[in-house]
């Protein structure tokens, strides 16, 4: 009997022990390293810092080369758009900016107090999406970034037309919903320090960009939205620019600008000859800020205009005329540094767009007679905005005026004027190559010799998408055309 008691006692003890020990399982399965509720003022600055990819793969190594602004010694044109670099923008943007923005908007949508955060989120979301759709065409939009929220793992690809329509609506609605009585981010808003007025200008300026972009595909809506943007209020000076500043660090750090990395890492990366030549041939006063010879040791390279040479693009190694170190690079004190600010949209761009709208007489709000002054204001702003690199980089009024004298807008000839305006746009969007590329595809300016190298019209979808999300990719292909670099996106057709 004694034995039996012992046994029954032990068994009972065992059962009680095991079940009692299962009570604290929730604590065991909570990571001590993480939190489950985020701090909005920590989320917002990170989102703003990640809008520019933080790395150079798609932007510089592909699009920068296609736009003849940078060149890599030894790059073969026919293999340039093969491989994973073309996929980086897609993959990075969805995995960081889109994911965070969708979550940020979701976290702020219910509370009136957070309406301003919500509006900022929606504006930035439109910004992030437009750079993706411009590059790849039809993309997951309405259901994107919702892996956690809706458990949508294979989002459908949406018609670019609908994407544009929604982005424009979002910008308008977000801009109108700001409420000064509610909570605002302060310095944690790295772009505008919580200024509602500036965010609204940004929303309408971005609306102007999107509206003009669809001008060929949908002129009616384009004009309607251009008017809405102008009436809403656009950037009024460089102080309104949509710029993200960075800190010195290495290329993969969120707080630094990864775009100039090739120039910092490798000796083979140079500015391209067409870009440097254009600056040089037109006596552009910006040249010394845009271009310098490579550093020798700790000494900054020569930035004298006459000594600048761009590398001829896509020329075999043994056919370049000069030793590689004699070609210009992005100066390590301006564009070529990890803490170089990234201008996502500028007052200058807005003015140049208005110049085009004026000359093409797209909307009644803008008079053709003002084309010249929009153009001049745009060029001047482009030169003045370079003071973001510090007091050493001031272009004087005299220099600006001389340049404008030599490069007056030819308002008599619309095509020539468009070429002038959009060539300025090409120069101004240096490093925001996605924008350079979209504007080039839309306008065809500046004209590049495409006899030998036909410039692609889009980037193909990531290989992983064709594997994992193949059904939706196939649907996009059947709507948009084959997944080739020669296929045009909706607004480019």
């Amino acid at each position: 009997m004694k034995i039996n008691k012992t046994i029954y006692g032990s068994l009972l003890g065992l059962v009680i022990l095991i079940s009692a020990c299962s009570k604290n399982f929730e604590d065991i399965n909570t990571s001590p390293d993480q939190v489950e509720e985020p701090t909005l003022d920590f989320l917002l600055p990170k989102i703003q810092l990640t809008l520019s990819d933080n790395a150079y793969y798609t932007n510089v190594t592909i699009i920068g080369q296609l736009m003849y602004q940078v060149s890599n010694h030894g790059t073969n044109f026919s293999t340039l758009t093969i491989g994973s670099n073309k996929e980086y923008h897609f993959e990075y943007q969805y995995a960081t900016a889109i994911k965070s923005l969708v979550n940020f908007i979701d976290k702020t949508k219910e509370s009136e107090e957070l309406i301003n955060y919500n509006s900022i989120g929606r504006i930035l979301k439109a910004y992030a999406f437009h750079s993706i759709t411009d590059l790849y065409g039809d993309i997951p939009y309405f259901n994107a970034g919702k892996g956690y929220i809706d458990r949508t793992f294979q989002p459908e690809y949406d018609d670019q037309k609908l994407v544009y329509e929604d982005m424009l609506n979002e910008l308008k609605d977000a801009a109108e919903k700001f409420n000064p009585a509610q909570r605002l981010p302060g310095n944690t808003d790295l772009i505008y320090g919580g200024s509602i007025e500036k965010w609204q200008k940004m929303a309408y300026s971005l609306m102007l960009r999107l509206a003009l972009r669809i001008n060929k595909a949908d002129p009616e809506n384009s004009a309607k939205w251009i008017s809405t943007a102008i009436n809403g209020g656009l950037f009024e000076s460089n102080a309104d620019n949509f710029t993200v500043f960075y800190k010195p660090n290495t290329y993969y750090a969120t707080i630094s600008n990864g775009q100039p990395t090739p120039f910092i890492y490798y000796t083979s990366w140079k500015l391209a000859a067409p870009f440097v030549d254009y600056l040089k041939n037109n006596n552009d006063p910006r040249i010394y800020i845009y271009s310098a010879l490579p550093k020798t040791g700790a000494v900054d390279g020569d930035n004298t205009a006459s000594n600048q040479f761009g590398l001829p693009p896509f020329v075999p190694a043994n056919e370049i005329p000069k030793p590689i170190e004699q070609y210009s690079v992005s100066p390590p004190s301006t564009f070529g540094k990890y803490d170089a600010p990234f201008i996502h949209q500028s007052y200058s761009e807005v003015q140049l767009m208005l110049a085009e709208i004026a000359i093409r007489e797209l909307v009644p709000e803008v008079s053709k007679a003002d084309a010249g002054s929009y153009y001049e204001t745009g060029v001047k702003a482009a030169m003045e905005q370079l003071t973001i690199y510090g007091g050493n980089y001031v272009i004087t009024d005299a220099e600006v005026n001389k340049y404008l004298m030599d490069n007056t807008l030819n308002t008599a000839n619309v095509e020539l004027a468009l070429e002038q305006i959009n060539t300025q746009y090409w120069l101004e969007t240096h490093y925001n190559f996605y924008e350079t590329y979209s504007n080039w595809r839309r306008t065809g300016y500046p004209k590049f010799d495409e006899a030998e190298f036909v410039i692609p019209r889009r980037m193909t979808y990531p290989a992983k998408e064709t594997n994992i999300n193949s059904e939706n990719v196939q649907k996009a292909i059947s709507r948009q055309g084959a997944d080739l670099i020669t296929t045009r996106v909706w607004w480019d057709k």
């Binding site: 020990c21 990571s31 920590f42 660090n249 707080i255 290989a463 994992i468």
Partner: protein
């Protein structure tokens, strides 16, 4: 009354003639000869002639213990009678006849069988025998260690349990014990991974059971479950990643007594969730096989040489350069790391370092760069046995130099086990401590700091020796190009540094108390602990890295504890022949992992390669904890030849949602040994068995909720935060469930000269917890789902044939074959495929596709028009069709091997032919070699003879010649077309040959030694059949689930070694 004393010698045959040899893969010959003393009492009382005679007897152990359950079998010609001893050790046989020579055999679990021949029975009832049986050490018995360290008679199991003897493993002399299991057990697939001697290897049992979970079996060493998680794996990222091994290198093969493989769920049910992919039980040698009050010292030393095998067959007609021209300047040479240059004509041509060298083929780069590897291992052991205790203590040291210069692995440690019994109390102790140190483990799979990648990219006219030592007088890398990709291999081996150390302590204490003869309680505490530290740096001067180098230093501590309590009964006769036993128990499993890591970039001072000397440093920490509580029972019933076994277990998982974190799962198995009357006489034995079992499983910790973490950097005092998950968490997870049915038979033919086993199984895993790759447009890389279903159906067979047997010569042949049909049944709503991996080239994927076997190799094909004509672009280059097709299967489905063992006097020779069929492999080296002009297929068109005929995208005819200066672009396109590089990975290899020699006893005795044996071993000598050009078909990059991609990995090696064992 007469007393007969029969001297008896029992050799192998005795055992073979018993059914108990079943299922043990015992190769080679028995080393020992056993002598027995039998005392037979025979009474001569006269009886009536008409009364058939009766034989009674008592069976006792050497120590006089009365032995129950001993099978007594009396045979004469076709007549056969059976009896079993009762609890008092006595048996009774009726209906015997006088004047016939009977054979009487005695067999009992754990005891040496005994056979008496020419026994005559006297008339009447006075015939009585007293038989003593000698207790066997486990090595010789038919006892297998099964779940929870419980020993069972192999006859009673309703499922397959297979063992490999330590001797068959140690002769192989491999650093990783896993390699030695290759080709030895049906259904066990050992994949060689090309990641160096100390890298992790892969074993799967009966196919892939979980879609994305761990599919490798649970390793249990002396009852202690071992954490065999791989720390790091080669990846297709730029740096490729380092495989730091899976910890199994800690096992010293010389310590192993036997390895038992529990393949099915039924065998594993009592280990719980972690056994859902099978269990490999390692039992180390113990002192129990010694005689009482004796001791033995044994020393083993072995030396093995690894010699690299070069399977490459490149073109050696054209050298470095572009457009059919050799480089004309150093700059030119630095910008064209490829073999698209001119004809190798012997002229002086400038190279990467500005030196002029003859433009001639360099065919021996692989032999020149990779060195002969070596492994030197030593084990000293002491075994002792007293009245109540036996123990074994061993210490060992192993030093390995891998085939890449400056890389190697060292292991030292000791292990101890003891078994003590005092009256009703027995105490077993296991303790082992091992230190493993590895140096310069290589980054493989990537394209920088990967010497294997550099060797592949090296133009045909560059001699790798000219790259030595890889750095200039300032310590800076002498690069092959501006980007430092590929990296100078000598810079990698001389300047880039890695070292790691793993210290493992594991131990167990088991206390068992027998309350009565039938009732016992047992408690066990098991601990497996290891700490791990790793340092690697890339110094100032490397070209690819951020200027100024970088460093990583990390450490982790990992522990797994199990507390277990069991109360059980021994086998008891309940009613007549009906017997039962069982136990009930509980287990608490705790796992805790902590890690800390510091990495950073840019060394401030040169040659000070420490974390403190970095200008940017990032610390991070990791923490992971989980717990599983379990209750279980086991019940066994026996009726004559029928055995039935039930188990049940309930697990509570800490990693699952609180309201749905437990599951009960049962198993049942049955086995039946057919009576000899039921089959023809040439069938000597037949057993049928069947089982059904389920096993459950949980998730990884912290898989339930979204969480946020602070960034390592802040923006001038503004903190940055984001979602930490890149995998979508799932708060609705439930336990997965794996269900298996198994049926089989074991047959002995011709007096068991031929032993045959056949097993069919069908296993399905449902509600599988799957971490699947999802569209990045969802914001996440992966998601955790609970919807997967995967099935494995298969057939396993082995046949063991004793071909020849004389007094001096023995020849055994063992053939094994297994076939596994895997199928991905379901992946959840809306998901048709899982992506398991993507190749470094980006063009090949490993997928799980619904309706197909797991691990399909997928990728693009050439673009063709509707009529099947090739579509070319305007330059005449081929296009890929941008559609992902299934191109092959990454996992083998048929494995066959044949082993021959010969022994002649003191010599033993064996060889093993191992083969696998039914898998494909995507070869990156062949793709890259087409891209860089080293492949022989790129010879066409160098002189302008490459004609392209087909259509263009618009449907127009293309008929043009490719300009020789553009053929690199043409072949560049071809390199990106996946279907070109998917090969049949089937192979037949001569896996092992070994020759052993035991020095004759008379010589050994003169030297005052007990035993001396010598052996020579060769592994991977020849590939008898393969279809993969330029590579070994067994060249998978990783040991994880993504099988079927071979990146730029280690070349394969051939091992040749010698071994000496001396016992004092």
């Amino acid at each position: 009354m007469q007393l007969y004393i029969v001297q008896w010698s029992c050799i192998v045959k005795t055992l073979e003639n018993n059914m108990i040899r079943l299922r043990k893969i015992q190769f080679g010959k028995w080393l020992s000869v056993f002598s027995l003393l039998i005392i037979m009492g025979n009474s001569l009382l006269a009886q009536d002639n008409r009364d058939p005679s009766v034989l009674t007897g008592t069976v006792v152990s050497e120590s006089g213990e009365l032995l129950g359950s001993v099978t007594v079998r009396v045979t004469a010609g076709a007549v056969s009678l059976n009896a079993t001893t009762n609890a008092k050790g006595t048996f009774l046989l009726r209906n015997l006849k006088p004047d016939i020579d009977y054979k009487i055999s005695f067999s009992c679990v754990g005891y040496e069988s005994k056979q008496l021949e020419n026994v005559r029975i006297n008339e009447g009832e006075g015939n009585s025998l007293l038989v003593r049986l000698t207790q066997l050490s486990d090595e010789l018995s038919n006892v297998v260690v099964t779940a929870l360290n419980i020993k069972r008679d192999i006859r009673n199991t309703g499922y397959l349990v297979e063992t490999v003897k330590g001797k068959d493993l140690t002769e192989n002399r491999t650093v990783n014990i896993q390699n030695a299991l290759s080709g030895k057990i049906p259904g066990v697939d050992v994949s060689s991974t090309s990641n160096g001697a100390a890298g992790s290897k892969r074993i799967t049992i009966r196919g892939i059971a979980s879609l994305t979970g761990n599919n490798q079996p649970l390793w249990v060493v002396d009852g202690i479950p071992i954490n065999t998680g791989t720390i790091g794996n080669a990846t297709p990222s730029g740096g490729g990643g380092i495989d730091f091994g899976n910890g199994l290198t800690y096992i010293n093969p010389d310590d192993i007594d036997q390895i038992t493989v529990l393949k099915g769920n039924a065998a594993a049910a009592l280990y719980g969730s972690r056994a859902s992919t099978g269990v490999i039980l390692v039992t180390t040698k113990s002192g129990s096989r010694l005689r009482k009050n004796s001791m033995e010292v044994s020393y083993n030393t072995g030396y093995t040489v690894d010699k690299v095998r070069d399977f490459t067959d490149w073109q050696y007609d054209y050298g470095q350069g572009t457009e059919g021209k050799a480089p004309v300047s150093q700059e030119d040479a630095l910008s064209s790391i490829s073999s698209w240059g001119g004809k190798l004509d012997g002229s002086d041509v400038v190279q990467f370092d500005g030196q002029m060298r003859p433009y001639v083929a360099q065919r021996d780069n692989i032999e020149n760069f990779y060195k002969n590897g070596s492994t030197f291992s030593n084990t000293l052991s002491l075994l002792a046995r007293t009245e109540n205790t036996n123990f074994r203590l061993s210490t060992s040291y192993l030093a390995n130099n891998d085939i890449i210069p400056n890389t190697g692995f060292k292991r030292s440690g000791f292990s101890f086990n003891s078994q003590t019994r005092y009256d009703k109390l027995s105490v077993n102790v296991v303790l082992s401590y091992t230190i493993e140190k590895a140096k310069n483990r290589q980054r493989i799979g990537g394209n920088y700091s990967n010497v294997n990648y550099t060797l592949l990219q090296l133009p045909t006219n560059i001699n790798v020796l000219d790259l030595n030592p890889g750095f200039d007088e300032t310590g800076a890398e002498i690069g092959l190009n501006d980007e430092g990709i590929p990296t100078n291999p000598y810079f990698v081996t001389n300047k880039i540094y890695e070292e790691d150390q793993r210290r493992r302590v594991n131990g167990s204490l088991e206390i068992k108390y027998d309350f009565t003869k039938w009732l016992y309680a047992k408690g066990r505490v098991l601990e497996d602990y290891f700490d791990y530290s790793e340092t690697d740096y890339t110094p100032i001067g490397v070209i690819w890295s951020p200027k100024g180098g970088g460093m990583n230093q990390s450490g982790s501590k990992n522990s797994e504890e199990n507390y277990e309590m069991i109360i059980g009964t021994n086998k008891n006769r309940i009613l007549g022949d009906f017997k039962a036993s069982g136990f009930i128990g509980g287990n608490i499993y705790n796992r805790l992992g902590r890690s800390s890591n510091v990495n950073g970039t840019v060394f401030v001072l040169e040659d000070i390669n420490t974390i403190n000397n970095l200008s940017v440093k990032y610390p991070s920490t990791g923490y992971s904890k989980e717990k599983i509580n379990s209750l279980f029972f086991n019940a066994e019933f026996e009726y004559k030849n029928l055995f039935v076994n039930f188990t049940g277990r309930k697990d509570w998982f800490s990693t699952l949602p609180l309201d749905n974190n437990s599951l009960f799962y049962p198993s049942a198995s049955i086995s039946y040994t057919l009576n000899s009357g039921l089959y023809p006489s040439w069938v000597s034995f037949a057993k049928l068995r069947g089982s059904f079992a389920q096993v459950s499983g949980g998730a990884a910790p912290y898989s339930l909720n979204l969480s946020y973490g602070l960034d390592r950097d802040n923006f001038g005092g503004i903190y940055l935060q984001g979602i930490s998950n890149t995998t979508v968490p799932n708060s609705n997870l439930t336990p997965l469930i794996s269900t298996e049915y198994e049926a089989g038979m074991d047959i002995g033919l011709f007096a068991n000269k031929v032993m045959l086993n056949l097993t069919y199984y069908n296993r399905t895993t449902r509600e599988d917890i799957v971490t699947t790759d999802i569209s990045i447009a969802s914001g996440y890389d992966r998601a955790i789902l609970n919807l997967g279903e995967i099935s494995n159906k298969g057939l396993e067979t082995s046949i063991n044939f004793n071909v020849l047997k004389t007094n001096t010569l023995n020849w055994d042949m063992t053939g094994i074959f297994s076939y596994n049909k895997n199928k991905v049944e379901n992946l959840g709503p809306g998901i048709s495929r899982l992506q398991l991996a993507q190749s470094k080239t980006g063009n090949a994927f490993i997928n799980a596709e619904i309706g197909l076997p797991y691990g399909q190799i997928a990728g693009n094909r050439y673009l063709m028009d509707d009529k099947g004509q090739m579509v070319y672009d305007n330059d005449g280059y081929p296009l890929n069709n941008g559609i992902v097709h299934i191109l092959g299967n990454g996992n083998y489905d048929k494995i066959a091997s044949l082993r021959n063992s010969f022994s002649w006097k003191s010599f033993a020779l064996q060889f093993l032919i191992d083969s696998k069929f039914g898998a494909n492999i995507y070869s990156e080296i062949n793709s890259l070699a087409v891209g860089n002009g080293k492949s022989k297929t790129t010879l066409e068109g160098r002189e302008g003879e490459l004609l392209v005929q087909g259509v263009n995208a618009g449907g127009g005819t293309v008929n043009m010649q490719i300009d020789p200066s553009n053929i690199n672009a043409y072949y560049g396109r071809m390199a990106g077309i996946t279907e070109n590089f998917v090969y049949d990975a089937s192979f037949v290899k001569l896996r092992e040959i070994s020759l052993g020699y035991a020095i004759p006893q008379e010589i050994v005795s003169k030297l005052n030694l007990t035993r001396v044996s010598l052996s020579a071993v060769a592994r991977n000598l020849f590939i008898l059949y393969k279809k993969t050009p330029n590579m070994d078909p067994e060249s998978n990059t990783t040991s994880d689930n993504a099988q079927g991609i071979s990146a730029t990995v280690y070349p394969s090696v051939r091992n040749i070694g010698v071994n000496l064992n001396i016992t004092f």
